[in-house]
């Protein structure tokens, strides 16, 4: 069965959510691929993990205002959250603010959102940035919205665990503050990953291929899970998964 890049990324992320430590996945604004991945993981695992999409209606459980997701994370009630970055460096520092010297930036982006809190409090943060280039993966970010690692005297139960791009999956070791290559997208190479990464990473002798999407999961994505995705992301469900709820 053929599949699109976005479907590949969805099934790749879904596999990272299928461990016993993942009981509750929260997904922030405008994140259709992580959102679809969480809904797919829930479907294939009989209702686990719990999935909370903050901009959904029936898929959004938060009833106590914008602060509730942060309060829940602060208490340890959220196990997985997704973050990205305009720039990400080898210590997993994230920049969501802009490039150039702050505050007189060359190019301004939206802002840090909740990253400076969620990165500290959610145990398994998955960094998701499809574009894999030296523009994104820089030696050092121009502005640290949220740091990848912290001093021992800073309360920090959470932090980065994985990085998913269109080229590969990396894991992050918080003790040494380094990424390690876990698997490479079918048809791409370790060299390509290294050429497009502006910092050093650990590369094991044998790097497996990231599995292609499983057929039964693609079928679910394009049917029942797609309908759930459409509750929050109707345009994405239609364009990427071919599920048109308006039709």
């Amino acid at each position: 069965m053929t599949y699109s890049r976005d479907e590949f990324l969805i099934t790749t992320i879904a596999r990272l959510l299928e461990t016993p430590d993942v009981r509750h996945v929260a997904v922030g604004a405008a994140s259709p691929i992580p959102g679809a991945a969480a809904l797919l993981a829930r479907k294939v695992n009989g209702g686990t993990p719990r999935v909370s999409l903050i901009h959904g209606k029936a898929t959004n459980p938060f009833c106590d205002g914008g602060r509730e997701i942060f309060d829940a994370a602060g208490q340890g009630r959220i196990d997985v959250f997704f973050l990205g970055g305009v720039q990400i460096d080898g210590q997993a520092n994230l920049n969501l603010v802009g490039t150039g010297e702050y505050p007189t930036v060359d190019k301004r982006f939206s802002g840090s959102f909740g990253s400076a809190f969620m990165y500290f409090t959610v145990p398994k943060v998955i960094l998701f940035r499809p574009e894999h280039s030296r523009r994104v993966f820089v030696p050092k970010v121009d502005f640290i919205s949220a740091p990848g690692v912290s001093d021992p005297d800073v309360y920090r139960p959470g932090g980065p665990k994985y990085l998913v791009t269109e080229l590969c999956v990396m894991s992050f070791n918080r003790d040494v503050g380094r990424f390690k290559l876990e698997s490479v997208t079918p048809g791409r190479t370790v060299e390509e990953v290294l050429d497009n990464t502006g910092f050093e990473i650990d590369v094991p002798e044998n790097v497996p291929e990231t599995p292609a999407p499983e057929e039964e999961r693609l079928a679910l994505l394009r049917s029942t899970v797609g309908v759930e995705v459409a509750d929050t992301y109707p345009a994405f469900a239609k364009d990427v998964l071919g599920v048109d709820v308006a039709a």
Binding site: G66, P103, R108, S110, F113, G114, A116, S150, V154
Partner: protein, 275 residues
């Protein structure tokens, strides 16, 4: 007593130059008709606070020259892309930017709700946000419970907050449903201006089902009807966002000339004045 006004133009008179103005998030109940009236009034030097993020309203106010300072966790048009006038204003240094993070804005407002001067918040330490926030303090856990350093966020007390809602009654009570951040904003602000789709005779407090989602009238300074008052943004269960219109804005506002033409047509034009 809540002051019932005729329209958004009268409400806009309650927004003085230089005010600290709190704006609700894009996914909540944003009073776009009132924002357009504030722009028509020509308010200057606003310090806008996005709670905790905003998009179209902030971008239009910035582009129209109403804003001196933006305090935000993010300004973005969401799926329609970056907020063009916000980006241009920060890059050209024509506004002052105070970068924050979502829970810090909620926490500052919660401190005001409780009448305390500050509240602690986990995280943030090691972020460059801290370097540029002289008003945030880092202290050692004062309770001595071995939790290390922690950030203190000062109370935020907006001069004016503005919200939209589907429904109010005759006693100034306003239905906000589960958009509880609007309650936080209201509790923390000195003045609250509200636009509503509809005003009903029956008290919202008469039934527990509506009372649970009601902001009581003693927080509401002034109120006016504005039908379709969140457009082109959406109002959940009432109307969807007008994605085409938001995309048109996102495209035209990429240049100052395009922005001015858009605003002339949609904010200062005959169509809006006839509303």
């Amino acid at each position: 007593m809540t002051n019932y006004l005729n329209d958004v133009e009268e409400l806009a008179q309650h927004v003085p130059d230089g005010a600290l103005l709190a704006l609700p998030p894009e996914y909540s109940f944003v009073p776009m008709a009132l924002v357009r009236a504030i722009i028509r009034k020509g308010v200057k030097d606003l310090h806008i606070l996005t709670v905790p993020i905003n998009g179209l309203a902030a971008d239009m106010l910035i582009g129209a020259g109403c804003v001196k300072t933006v305090e935000c966790a993010a300004v973005s048009l969401g799926e329609a892309g970056p907020a063009p006038r916000f980006g241009a204003a920060v890059e050209s240094r024509s506004i002052k930017i105070i970068d924050s993070t979502c829970p810090a804005i909620h926490t500052g407002l919660q401190a005001t709700e409780k009448g305390v001067p500050f509240m602690p918040l986990a995280g943030i330490i090691g972020s460059d946000l801290l370097k540029y926030r002289d008003d945030w303090k880092v202290v050692d856990d004062p309770m001595g419970q071995g939790n290390g350093r922690i950030v203190l966020i000062p109370a935020i007390n907006p001069d004016v907050a503005i919200i939209h809602s589907p429904l109010a009654d005759r006693d100034g009570n306003v239905w906000i449903g589960r958009r509880r951040e609007l309650a936080t904003i209201a509790h923390a602000a000195k003045t609250l201006l509200v636009t509503v789709e509809k005003i009903q005779d029956e008290s919202l407090l008469a039934s527990e089902a509506t009372a649970a989602g009601t902001l009581p009238g003693f927080y509401v300074t002034a109120l006016a009807r504005a039908e379709m008052g969140a457009k082109p943004l959406g109002l959940v269960d009432h109307y969807a966002p007008d994605a085409d219109e938001i995309a048109t804005y996102a495209h035209e506002a990429r240049s100052e000339e395009g922005f001015n033409a858009y605003m002339q047509r949609n904010v200062f034009g005959a169509q809006e004045a006839a509303e």
